[in-house]
């Protein structure tokens, strides 16, 4: 398949305007298995749109080309003691992909991680975009300031639109200071319901929890609940102590406190990247719902393996890769509770047969189709990727 790789936004606009057949848009290709499979005659790569164009640490602002490797952005921020607030997931372990994730891919898929529970999703930190729509027009929305209500917020619309409304050329973020210290409270032996109750108590406290996850089968085999706090050293120690008091008496072995032991220091990365399911077969679902409903959902799916993030507001499920990857069972179990289920890992054939994204009610399907028709009237950008 031919690869188009424009070196500037102007070239990108020319390239898109001149398209005569559908293209699959590609950043680093590490998230290529998300959504419906795309039938395209060529690949449109953003690798030529790379580089941090503006970084003001004192203004908490970073602007970069969509093709900039995520690693480059994280290194740039780390040099000034800052970071992206939303802790984007690395999809490579779960999807078995290779290559370098790009910041444009993070935005296009609205990728977040465990800190989403406190710092919001990718879309919450995104303050500006430039993109080329399906007609080849270069469009700008938002900017480089964190408070901006000038006109409609197309920034949010572009986040998570999987390249179906336009090709991102540049993205701007509000960034945050990286903390001086981090501590994770570990509780062993909780039931799913007990873990959600503990995480709810922690997240409902004033101690500014930045991660709350539960692994029913932790690294040692026993259930493990993780509660993270970050900040200045003395503050972290204080809040860890208060949380320990608050959660005391829960779990079989009580609370383990302080920094995570060395052999477990990749636990948050494991939660972020859904590593418990990475080297195991089967389809993988990501379900968003009310935390209090999460144990009910998991109990209703006894065949599925599950773990919890976002204090229970996110449930990862691994199911047998049947014809529909368990879509009917998962969505039926979810329907009475409310929420949405996204099929994150399945074969292209399954993703063609089953809607990977939660089906929307008819009036919203019409709105989404209307937006797509206006932003990509010829239907050339990642066609069908988000099709209902």
């Amino acid at each position: 398949m031919s690869v188009l790789a424009p070196a500037s936004e102007a070239e990108l606009a020319e390239t898109v305007a001149a398209l005569t057949e559908p293209v699959e848009i590609r950043g680093g290709g590490t998230r290529a298995g998300l959504g419906r499979p795309v039938q395209a005659g060529a690949t449109l790569s953003t690798e030529g749109l790379s580089g941090v164009s503006l970084y003001e640490a004192g203004a908490l602002t970073l602007v970069a080309g969509a093709g900039t490797p995520l690693a480059e952005i994280e290194a740039t921020l780390a040099a000034e003691g800052q970071r992206l607030p939303f802790e984007p997931m690395d999809h490579r372990p779960l999807l078995g992909t290779t290559g370098e994730p790009t910041i444009g891919g993070v935005v296009a898929c609205n990728v977040s991680g465990p800190r989403r529970v406190q710092a919001g999703a990718c879309r919450d930190s995104l303050i500006g975009v430039r993109f080329v729509d399906g007609a080849g027009r270069a469009i700008r929305n938002g900017g480089r300031v964190m408070k901006n209500v000038t006109g409609y917020d197309l920034v949010k619309l572009m986040a998570g639109s999987h390249g179906t409304l336009g090709v991102l050329s540049e993205v701007a973020f509000k960034v945050l200071p990286a903390p001086e210290a981090t501590a994770t409270l570990l509780i062993e032996g909780l039931s799913d319901a007990g873990a959600v109750a503990a995480m709810t108590a922690a997240l409902g406290s004033p101690y500014d929890v930045t991660g709350a996850a539960h692994l029913p089968a932790g690294p040692e085999g026993a259930p493990l609940t993780l509660i993270r706090i970050e900040g200045f050293e003395a503050s972290v120690a204080y809040r860890a102590g208060r949380l320990k008091d608050l959660l005391g008496g829960r779990g079989e072995s009580g609370l383990e406190l302080g920094t995570i032991p060395e052999h477990r220091d990749d636990l948050w990365a494991a939660v972020r990247d859904a590593r418990p399911f990475a080297d195991r077969p089967g389809a993988v679902w990501r379900v968003s719902l009310k935390p209090s409903d999460a144990p009910t959902l998991v109990a209703a799916l006894p065949e599925a393996e599950a773990f919890y993030d976002h204090g229970g507001g996110l449930v990862w499920l691994r199911v047998e890769e049947t014809k529909d990857a368990g879509a009917a069972a998962v969505r039926d179990a979810l329907a009475p509770l409310g929420g949405h289920a996204t099929l994150v890992r399945a074969t292209p054939a399954v993703r063609a047969a089953v809607p990977p994204f939660q089906p929307e009610p008819a009036p919203l399907v019409a709105v989404s189709a209307g937006l797509r028709a206006r932003f990509d009237p010829r239907g050339l950008l990642n066609p069908a990727r988000m099709a209902p």
């Binding site: 003001e56 004192g58 203004a59 602002t61 000034e80 003691g81 609205n110 989403r116 919001g120 999703a121 027009r137 270069a138 469009i139 700008r140 929305n141 900017g143 480089r144 300031v145 964190m146 408070k147 901006n148 209500v149 000038t150 006109g151 409609y152 917020d153 197309l154 920034v155 949010k156 619309l157 986040a159 998570g160 639109s161 409304l165 200071p177 990286a178 903390p179 709810t200 409902g204 004033p206 500014d208 003395a234 204080y238 968003s288 009310k290 935390p291 209090s292 976002h310 507001g313 996110l314 409310g338 939660q358 929307e360 009610p361 009036p363 919203l364 709105v367 989404s368 209307g370 937006l371």
Partner: protein, 483 residues
Amino acid sequence: MQMPEADADVLSRRDAILARLARALPADALVADPVETRAYDCDALTAYSCSPLAVCLPRTTEEVAAVMRLCAEEGVPVIPRGAGTGLAGGALPTGDAVILGVARMNRVLETDYANRFIRVETGRTNLSVTGAVEADGFFYAPDPSSQLACAIAGNIAMNSGGAHCLKYGVTTNNLLGVTMVMADGEVVTVGGPFADAPGYDLLGLICGSEGQLGIVTEAWLRILPKPEGARPILIAFDAAETAGACVFDVIKAGVLPVAIEFMDKPIIHLTETFVGAGYPMDAEAMLIVEVEGSDAEIDDQLARIRAIAEKHAPMEIRESASAEQSAAIWKGRKAAFGATGQVADYLCMDGTIPTSALPEALRRIAEITADHGLRVANVFHAGDGNLHPLIMFDANKPGDLEKAEACGAAILSVCVDLGGCLTGEHGVGVEKRDLMHRQYGADDLDAQMAVKDVFDPAWRLNPAKVFPLDASASRRAAAHAAE
């Protein structure tokens, strides 16, 4: 300021339209007497007003839907209204339009502490959302300064901010879902009490769309546990540039205050005369920096801020050690708009700039107001670069309002030139509508208007707002011809 001419056809059918509305609504939900509708002739941008065709004040989503269906059938423009506290004229009617106000829909529908959300009808005021949960240790974060009066509906329409958004974000970061009545009267739910609604981020589009995409009647809002405490520090400087550099250094050092407020000399003096807060009168600029946490955490953060401030040779530092001292430090800041209103009429600008451009922005604002022969006082959210220059004028002096408006437009142009934007939290409305060309090119505006085409093909919802009239003219005309 120009508004489209009222549709003569609609005006000629006024009685029939009112009769239909009267049949669709309870008797007290329709206001048509021109004396009684006067309260709805304008919002807080009082310089512009117009009598609407009628005012509808429904109590249920079904009644809102009935009005929307009826207006769609009759081709009547609809102007959504919350509490009418908007500063940009977003709720300004035209003579052929029905005002659809949600102020009577103010119930709390559900409070769920375990899942940290509240569901309310959108006529509820911002402060009373926090009021409904604070006894249980929670709060709703966005806190626009009109929070005692402003409605959640308007907060969503304008994507309102407030003093504390440096840490907690603005409305769009705290909105989980909405019930919305579409232009044709269909009722839809977007999002809900869970994160990251699937598909296109329609919730993100709706928030900040100034009532042009639908009428939001109910909302799921994120609530947060209240911090253990909060205390401010006051730092005075002999130059605005130094204050700006201090803000930059505080943020760069990894301290994330909940608020960083900036006041310049004129506003310090105005508030001193008004409420006697005891601010340093010889300072050129003053910062109020507030941090949150336990007492020890607050002490630690204030010590860090003090250490940074001391490198900038401050004239004075006042660290609050008690609730009384905190109130004293905030007293003048909270009275800033009232104090200015005591001595002059004023226009409150709302541009945002990158915080690194603060000194230059202040210098150019001073030059521009001097060139216009006007006075300006500056009070704003420095942490996020959201400026609020108060341009003072005399409304009784012919030509003075126009002079102040020209001055404001020049200031907003500077904000755009410095890499910022026209409005950080008040919205575009009619006030900044014609400046949109300054910030966005034709294609940028066209992409935004394409969104409205999808939600409101007939361009009947708040049609003359946000977009310059020349930019939206062909769309409004085409929609009208199609009806």
